[in-house]
């Protein structure tokens, strides 16, 4: 476990890039339902950043 959390991330050793992270399946009914629920929450929300676009 690391101490001295550095939100700037100047110490890159705290986050290691790994191209071999095991792929997980996000295409499950539970996850799709959960992600859709969040999208529904966001659907009528004016997102507070200028570059967000709704297609």
């Amino acid at each position: 476990m690391k101490k001295e959390l550095n939100f700037l991330g100047k110490d890159e050793s705290k986050v290691k890039i790994n191209p071999n992270i095991p792929k997980i399946n996000l295409d499950t009914p539970e996850l799709k339902k959960h992600l859709h629920k969040i999208s529904q929450i966001l659907e009528n929300v004016k997102v507070p950043f200028e570059s967000i676009e709704t297609p």
Binding site: P19, K23, S51
Partner: protein, 154 residues
């Protein structure tokens, strides 16, 4: 250094969308993953979700580990924002708990963490009436919008 807070080691995919770490408990260790998923309606907005990696290689966002390390996990989750924004600096993130109860449970810890990260990110809170306001430590939010602060980086 902002403060001393324990954080788990994180491994990040090259695209910055997948982050894996291990929750360490007295009885068992649990593999957890943070995933940034594109929102189905809003371009450039990613949903931050996290949970336990299951034996069948999916993500259980409702899992309860009982490792007594919720704060460390939340710090680690917030830490993944750094890697995400380093690789995807123009993208935006929405973060909420997997259930209303969890959002309430996380609220105080998240507020403390976001207060410490405000100079690195622009953060807005989503209020109950679906309006938003700039993040305030004293506010209660059902979710958070986050973008990288490109102006104040030191």
């Amino acid at each position: 250094m902002i403060t001393e807070i324990p954080v788990y080691n994180i491994e990040t995919s090259p695209d910055g969308l997948y982050h894996i770490f291990e929750s360490i408990g007295s009885q068992k260790n649990t593999k957890k993953m943070v995933v940034y998923v594109p929102d189905e309606n809003k371009t450039n907005l990613f949903q931050l979700i996290f949970g336990d990696v299951t034996d069948d290689h999916t993500l259980d966002v409702f899992a309860i580990s009982n490792n007594q390390d919720m704060k460390i996990i939340l710090v680690t989750v917030i830490q993944t924002l750094y890697a995400f924004f380093e690789i995807n600096p123009t993208k935006k993130v929405f973060f909420t708990g997997s259930t209303d109860a969890r959002t309430r449970l996380y609220s105080a810890t998240i507020s403390n963490l976001f207060e410490k990260t405000e100079i690195f990110y622009h953060i807005y809170g989503l209020l109950e009436d679906d309006s938003t306001e700039p993040f305030s430590k004293t506010g209660y939010y059902k979710g958070y919008f986050i973008e990288k602060n490109h102006e104040k980086r030191t």
